[in-house]
């Protein structure tokens, strides 16, 4: 996010900005299993076992381009005149950032939600890195089950009672996404009170 803000306050549409956008777009397009494999080899390198921490790091990398590019797009929508008006008050570009942030707050929030949706529903990235367990982790270094992986493993168990749990897990996941979207709508409306259109 700071990088994106930098682009918009200083670099505008220069070569650096374009290179950065291309990189982020490519990163967005990479399937998450590749990140999973990448995270796995990284784990082996530092001697970390499948754990909550490794999962967090991998998912963060998956989500980073989504967050950055969505926010970037939102900033691109800021009218040129708003920057001009702000700068013509004699503000520095650094001070202008606070105005840009206020204008794009709802968009930034959407970017976070989008990224969150991807993170919570992603199975492949955490397949190797977070591991799987039936119990709750008590520290960052223990394995942890994400909801999609829980569904996957529970469904592949040949007992009906466990399979039933997979469906309830799916329901919980769906309801969580629903609640997040609704809260998102509500907050986004609150935040856009001052936004110039």
């Amino acid at each position: 996010m700071p990088v994106v803000l930098y682009i918009h306050a200083y670099a505008d549409y220069g070569r650096l900005a374009n290179a950065l956008r291309l990189t982020l777009d490519v990163m967005w397009g990479i399937p998450s299993i590749v990140y999973g494999a990448f995270g796995f080899s990284l784990m082996l390198l530092v001697g970390l076992r499948a754990s909550l921490l490794a999962g967090i790091i991998t998912v963060a990398i998956v989500v980073l381009p989504i967050l950055a590019r969505t926010f970037d797009e939102v900033l691109m929508l800021v009218p040129k005149e708003l920057r001009e008006s702000t700068l013509s008050l004699g503000t520095t570009r650094w001070e202008m950032i606070s105005v840009l942030l206020r204008q794009t707050l709802p968009g930034l929030f959407t970017a976070v939600l989008l990224a969150f949706g991807r993170a919570i529903g992603d199975g492949a990235a955490v397949l190797f890195t977070a591991g799987y367990t039936d119990s709750l982790p008590t520290s960052l270094t223990q394995p942890v089950a994400t909801l999609p992986l829980a569904i996957f493993f529970q469904l592949s168990v040949p007992f009906e009672s466990v399979q039933a749990r997979a469906y309830s897990t799916a329901l919980v996941l769906t309801i969580m996404v629903l609640i997040i979207s609704m809260v998102g709508q509500f907050v986004s409306r609150k935040l856009s009170r001052n936004v110039i259109r």
């Binding site: 505008d12 001009e84 008006s85 105005v99 206020r102 110039i196």
Partner: protein, 251 residues
């Protein structure tokens, strides 16, 4: 001789290969209204934006020549651009309030320039009084500025600009997007401000230029064709091009 506020010397501007302003030299009289007229695309706005260095937000713009503010070239390397823009304010074509409350819109500039909270509130009130907005908004200062009408928003932008007490105010077709009554309101405000500020307005409305201007610049295809006191230029234009434009034969 009239006292000058801004002196422009051999100003040339290129957008990439396109030569947008050609050898402009002019002195803008202090605390009077200078109107820049001419057809669309003749470089009026480019000229205006070159006066507070807003032009350099565009890519691939090249500026040559001098703009002297108090004998000092604002394009000299090492000049503090923010100070230039503080002394030379701007009112845009369309009202663009900042994404904050009515009060904060005016207070923002003051806070950025380091005014303490105690002195901000009276300054905000004064500016809003000056644009005749105080009575309309005093009950809802914390409401978002987007809730105001177009004319009110433009007056808010004017209040925001004069709050930081610039010496010069640039207006880029600032009434073009408003309805006739709101436009009239802005016009009479500009006449009020004349005498305290040096005003430079761009307009494609010749009638408006006649009503407001003390000094007129007529531009055509990036060149400054004719300039002089309003009475002279409107009453007795020297060049045929100016005569034809004023008679609406061309442009």
């Amino acid at each position: 001789m009239i006292e000058q506020s801004l002196s422009v010397r051999d100003l040339n501007v290129w957008y990439g290969e396109q030569h947008a302003l050609k050898n402009i030299s002019v002195d803008l009289p202090i605390r009077q209204i200078t109107a820049i007229i001419g057809p669309s695309g003749c470089g009026k706005s480019t000229f205006l934006k070159s006066l507070n260095r807003l032009l350099e937000l565009n890519e691939s713009v090249r500026v040559e020549g001098e703009v002297l503010l108090d004998e000092e070239n604002i394009y000299r390397p090492g000049v503090d651009v923010t100070e230039v823009r503080t002394r030379i304010g701007m009112l845009a074509q369309k009202p663009y309030p900042l994404p904050m409350s009515i009060y904060d819109n005016v207070a923002y500039g003051l806070r950025v320039h380091g005014r303490t909270n105690g002195s901000v509130a009276p300054a905000v009130e004064n500016s809003l009084h000056a644009v005749g907005l105080w009575d309309e908004v005093s009950g809802r200062l914390k409401a978002p500025a987007t809730g105001l009408s177009g004319g009110q928003q433009q007056r808010l932008c004017l209040a925001r600009a004069i709050a930081i007490e610039p010496e010069i105010l640039l207006c880029d077709e600032s009434t073009a997007s408003l309805d006739p009554i709101a436009a009239q309101g802005i016009e009479s405000l500009l006449l009020d401000l004349r005498g305290r500020y040096t005003l430079v307005i761009v307009t494609h409305n010749i009638a408006q230029a006649r009503r407001l201007a003390d000094y007129v610049m007529f531009m055509w295809l990036g060149e400054l064709v004719e300039h002089g006191p309003a009475a002279e230029l409107f009453g007795n234009p020297k060049l045929e091009l100016t005569q034809d434009y004023l008679a609406r034969k061309i442009g």
